[in-house]
Subunit: 164 residues, 2 copies
């Protein structure tokens, strides 16, 4: 049995207990969370989110690339969110390699160098500020006055705000 | 008080109850979930995921663009995941507009047309299959034999597999 099959059994139980009624499409709290995909970072537990509350956007590093700007533009323009919460975290995999090294390794294995930046970084706070700057520089995201960035500590479970 | 401040108070409570020990960086279950950012779709509740279990990647629609391929390449190459679970859902916002219309609307408001596809779609199953095809076509994602796609029903809480 694959892990996927094991998780599907959990999904059966979730459906049996499902009692969310008819939740509306727009997020109830008007907020979009953009966080790293890291397995130890659970935005639902951390922020106390329930079904219907918030858009949750995630990728390797919690960085802001074209696709996150697309998602944020859709979130704000079509579904009414106005606040953005960015979350990076300690012990992040993105701190363990460099773009040059990773792309070189892929080139050696596959014969082709990826045409994307891996978006590795070497300082958490600096990259959170960089993510905020990328959002504020995007003219397609209308609401950028409530963008705040944080670092989650995977050992203590604590969230620390990154100040400008 | 902003919604962000309200959620930060929840984060304080989470930290106080935090007892995850020293979870390792690689996901325990070796799986990456790629799902829509929709507020009603909670991958933790649905799949029974706990902190440390799985990478979770999310965006508007749960679609596969360059940034999701970047995240999946990092997930598999650096952090050992080998299975991928794709999740779209009923009543998705991406079914309510067209790329042309959305990009035109932004052009009218800002004077500039976005240089990205909005990735709207008009059929859930077709787009799940499209996402699987994009992953299998990517030469930088090494493990593509365990990629399965699903549609989550936001009314019943049930997960339905999209067969090839």
């Amino acid at each position: 049995m694959s892990v996927t099959d094991e998780l599907l059994a959990n999904a059966e139980r979730y459906a049996a207990e499902h009692d969310k009624g008819d939740l509306p499409l727009p997020p109830a709290k008007g907020v979009a969370v953009l966080a790293c995909m890291d397995a130890r970072l659970n935005p639902y537990g951390l922020l106390g989110l329930s079904e219907g509350d918030a858009h949750v956007i995630r990728n390797a590093g919690g960085v802001v690339t074209a696709d996150e700007r697309r998602s944020l533009a859709i979130s704000q323009r079509l579904l009414g969110t106005t606040e953005i919460i960015l979350i990076h975290h300690t012990d992040c995999g993105m701190l363990t390699f460099t773009d040059d090294g990773f792309r070189q390794q892929i080139q050696e294995e596959t014969g082709v160098k990826p045409d994307w930046a891996a978006e590795a970084f070497d300082d958490l706070d600096t990259d959170v500020r960089q993510s905020i700057a990328r959002i504020k520089a995007d003219r397609f995201i209308p609401h950028t006055d409530q963008v705040r960035g944080f670092v989650y500590d995977v050992k203590t479970g604590r969230l620390r705000e990154v100040l400008p």
